[in-house]
Symmetry: C2
Subunit: 151 residues, 2 copies
DNA sequence: GTATGTGCAAATGATTTGCGTGCTT
DNA sequence: AAGCACGCAAATCATTTGCACATAC
């Protein structure tokens, strides 16, 4: 999987960014991630591919990609920024399991409409938002006594 | 207005907290605030009442009040925590004017229901959330050419 | 009286930045 | 060749904490 350029790298090229080996590595790390790593996590994954990369470059590159709308910066309230590949298509949000830290993604059209309507009613056009839900798993008390383990 | 104990001080007393002069001052500052000051802001207002207060105490006291659910910590994404008096009654959220930094509050029952429903559908009970909207003011281009100033 | 709070300054953790060198276009 | 990008270490910013002293109950 190292022969193909990642979708993020493609986006960078399209935007005319100078592509360095470090940026390529970070782009690949993000493209291959299905979770929401923080900077340290991106740095570690990148380091395993290219051990001479510096964390300052990871910070700079993530900021660059974020500003270019290639990735999205998330904030789950723990003081560290997290990142995921930006999805232009549909707005999705996150529900964080407060016990395990698991992150589920969801999207809901009614929710999108209500947010826009609220902004509009206040005389504003919605240009950004921040929305995370925090929850605890509901016990399914009637069946399957063999679950409820953390991972 | 310095003769009456503030509502926050009352809440502290009710919870059996040891009430110091500093805590009383910070409680009053928060009770008197209609905006959403950050720690530095609370510190400055408190300092004007009691110049010998230290910012470490402000941090400690705000954390204490937050944990006791007497105040609520907000995060508008600018790297500083902000605070407001906790309202037990109805959940309200904030819309931030990205141009001026103004903060409008809103509440919407449909929104509350949808959030709960989303969590439930994912198998979770909603125990917390973070929700802010960011917007730009819609120009009312047909009338009143005398507005649209920032404050 | 004793546990707890406070002030100060130093420590921390995440993130940014200045500077000299290296690499992409 | 020229201008960005990188690595390193120092700087910054918000916040926390250790310690000696002060204070509420």
């Amino acid at each position: 999987m190292n022969t193909q350029i990642s979708s993020i790298e493609a986006a960078c090229i399209e935007k005319g960014m100078k592509m360095t080996e470090q940026r390529r590595v970070i782009a690949r790390v993000l493209s291959d991630s299905t979770d929401h790593p923080d900077v340290e996590g991106v740095y570690q994954r990148a380091s395993s591919i290219d051990p001479k990369i510096s964390i300052a470059t990871v910070y700079r590159t993530l900021r660059l990609f974020d500003i270019a709308n290639i990735i999205e910066r998330l904030d789950f309230g723990d003081g560290r920024a997290r990142y995921e590949v930006a999805t232009e298509d549909s707005h999705h949000h996150h529900l964080i399991d407060v016990k395990t830290g698991d992150v589920l993604e969801f999207e809901n059209e009614d929710l999108e409409n209500i947010k826009k309507q609220i902004a509009k009613d206040l005389g504003y056009k919605l240009v950004g938002e921040r929305l995370e839900l925090y929850g605890v798993r509901i016990e399914s008390k009637t069946s399957d006594p063999n679950r409820n383990q953390e991972d």
